[in-house]
């Protein structure tokens, strides 16, 4: 113990170390991606099955406004579904860190309280880029034909990634609060399933009963699906675009401080 005082904490300011911690832990979580390829596989299997299910099994029976093919209608919903369910990965990862005692170690270190969460959410953003690209290729294979311009498609992709990032923070909060891998997955279904299905992701909301339709039309998933769908297909976006962005930013503004708060008091006991 002759080398005490090797810490360089005083050589840099608070912000430097916040960023440094976030980089260290993002690097950590990014290393996990190629080393646990099964997570990537699982997170693409469900959306691929949904493509097959809706495109070929249910799609023929779904009535659309004239001029839109079902596969073109469907893919925005599939993309939203993919990145939204990707938020499970964030929650499961944090619940695992808790169960294995890693969060205890991190909380006993003189480091940023948000870095572990930033690391997970940013690396899951990268994961979403990958699974999103796979799903885009699958879409093209089954006849997806986006007519939007390059800028519009970029806007759609940007919105989807923003959604994935926002939902990762919800997943992080749930994961830290529930503290158990299996429970995180069940809890995820409980809040995510109604949001995805009571929306315009797979079917037009017009045929839903009035109460449900009112919910579906005004909840964030519908706004985000409609905005990205319009951008992909090159049709008018109306107010969906900015409403979708406001939803995502609002979720981030709410769940970043909330998840950090839960993290500060997270106990390893499951």
């Amino acid at each position: 113990m002759s080398t005490q005082g090797v810490s360089e904490a005083d050589a840099h300011g608070w912000l430097y170390w916040q960023v440094s911690d976030a980089i260290v832990l993002t690097g950590r979580a990014l290393r996990h991606i190629p080393r646990s390829p099964e997570i990537l596989v699982y997170s693409t299997i469900q959306p691929v099955m949904f493509v097959v299910l809706f495109r070929y099994v249910l799609g023929g029976a779904i009535k659309l406004p004239p001029g839109v093919s079902y596969v073109n209608y469907l893919m925005a919903g599939i993309f939203v579904n993919t990145v939204a369910f990707g938020s499970f990965t964030t929650g499961v990862g944090l619940a695992e860190d808790l169960q294995k005692g890693l969060i205890d170690r991190f909380r006993s270190l003189p480091m940023s309280r948000a870095a572990v969460l930033i690391g997970r959410t940013l690396s899951d953003l990268v994961r979403n880029v990958f699974t999103g690209a796979v799903m885009f290729a699958v879409g093209l294979l089954v006849g997806f034909d986006p007519h939007g311009g390059a800028l519009e498609i970029a806007a759609a992709v940007g919105l989807l990634l923003l959604l994935g990032f926002a939902f990762s923070w919800i997943g992080a909060t749930v994961g830290l609060a529930v503290r158990n891998v299996e429970a995180v997955q069940s809890a995820g279904f409980i809040w995510l399933f109604p949001l995805i299905f009571a929306s315009s992701a797979f079917v037009p909301t017009a045929t839903m009963p009035a109460g449900l339709r009112a919910f579906a039309n005004n909840q964030p998933i519908t706004q985000i699906v409609d905005a990205s769908r319009s951008w992909f297909l090159g049709t008018p976006v109306h107010s969906h675009g900015w409403i979708a962005v406001v939803w995502c930013v609002g979720i981030i503004a709410l769940f970043v401080p909330l998840s950090v708060r839960v993290y500060r008091h997270a106990a390893s006991k499951s």
Binding site: G5, V6, R28, G101, R107, P110
Partner: protein
């Protein structure tokens, strides 16, 4: 490093921590001088882990005061964290990272420069016999290797105060022995070390001072020898050959010992308190020979910490139900 040498490295005064209706800590007191290895000994559920979690800022106490390296565990939590190392009950390592990546990550989070973190990681891998496995993911490590990696991670920034929560629980005997060696090596560096254990043997072997904790309170504090002395000194124990006259045996032993001879007819045991028993043994054996009594076994037994625990608490150390809160 920042702590004054005359201030205790670890201090608890009247600590209280409740979980629902249970009081995990109920007026817990402790004072550990710098450079001391303190064994916090107690059964499952006694409050050992809760105390460590408060000292390492993972939990806030409901009452009382805790300080480490002169810093308050609640008010100065952030500054305190750079002064401590923690190795937990389970090896808290990232299984998907290699041993080296784990250590460098923790080093960076302790605010070491990249170069320092790298060189410290290499030194520690070497020191902890993990050099060959340095570039393998930690999930391929054995239980003992993970614990060593976990301990190495807690040492990367050479913090002056270390907390090891049941460092050998669940290890096989060779893994335990190897952890004991590492912990013993830490002594030389002058670090203050608090280790919790439910193994009496472990506290006896590793610790300068032992605090016995039960139901959230310190019920005894002292060196292993001091605690053993509370129980009574050494005893001479003899086993006579089959068919021997036990009454004659007791009569023969009595003049050599400090108290009444206890006789167990069934096991043919004679036992009696005798300080410096070893010096008296030669005389005892000669007299038994002269009396024509054959001895199967002769021993001077020093009380173990098991005896201490039994005396202090009225029950054995390792029988209590596992209910460690948090």
């Amino acid at each position: 490093m920042t702590a004054d040498s005359d201030k205790p490295a670890i201090l608890a005064e009247g600590l209280v921590k409740r979980f629902g209706k249970t009081r995990a800590l109920d007026g817990f007191d402790l004072e550990v001088a710098p450079g001391t290895v303190l064994g916090l000994l107690g059964p499952n559920g006694a409050g050992k882990t809760t105390a460590v979690r408060i000292f390492t800022t993972l939990l806030e106490p409901d009452g009382g005061r805790a300080q480490v390296a002169g810093l308050d565990c609640v008010r100065d939590a952030h500054a305190l964290r750079s002064q401590i190392g923690l190795a937990g009950q389970y090896a808290a390592v990232d299984e998907l990272l290699t041993g080296r990546e784990n250590l460098e990550m923790v080093g960076r989070l302790y605010r070491l420069s990249r170069a320092t973190a790298r060189s410290r990681a290499l030194d520690l891998l070497e020191q902890f016999d993990l050099s060959e496995a340095a570039n393998r993911p930690a999930k391929t490590y054995s239980g003992g290797m993970r614990r060593r990696l976990d301990l190495a991670a807690s040492l990367i920034a050479t913090p002056p105060v270390l907390f090891l929560d049941e460092p050998t629980t669940g290890l096989d005997p060779s893994g335990r022995l190897s952890m004991w060696e590492r912990i013993n090596e830490l002594r030389a560096g002058g670090v203050t070390l608090l280790l919790t254990t439910q193994y009496l043997e472990e506290a006896d072997y590793l610790a300068d001072l032992i605090a016995v904790i039960e139901r959230g309170r310190t019920i005894a504090l002292g060196t292993a020898d001091e605690l053993k002395r509370q129980v009574g000194g050494e005893r001479i124990e003899l086993t006579l050959a089959r068919g021997s006259d036990m009454a004659l045996g007791a009569q023969t032993l009595q003049p050599h010992v400090d108290g009444p001879v206890r006789v167990d007819e069934r096991t043919r045991h004679l036992s009696a308190p005798a300080s410096h028993g070893a010096r008296r043994l030669a005389d005892v054996v000669r007299d038994f020979d002269a009396a024509g009594l054959e001895l199967d076994d002769v021993a001077v037994r020093r009380p173990t910490l098991d005896d201490v625990f039994l005396t202090l608490t009225g029950h054995a150390a390792e029988v209590e139900a596992a209910e460690e809160a948090a």
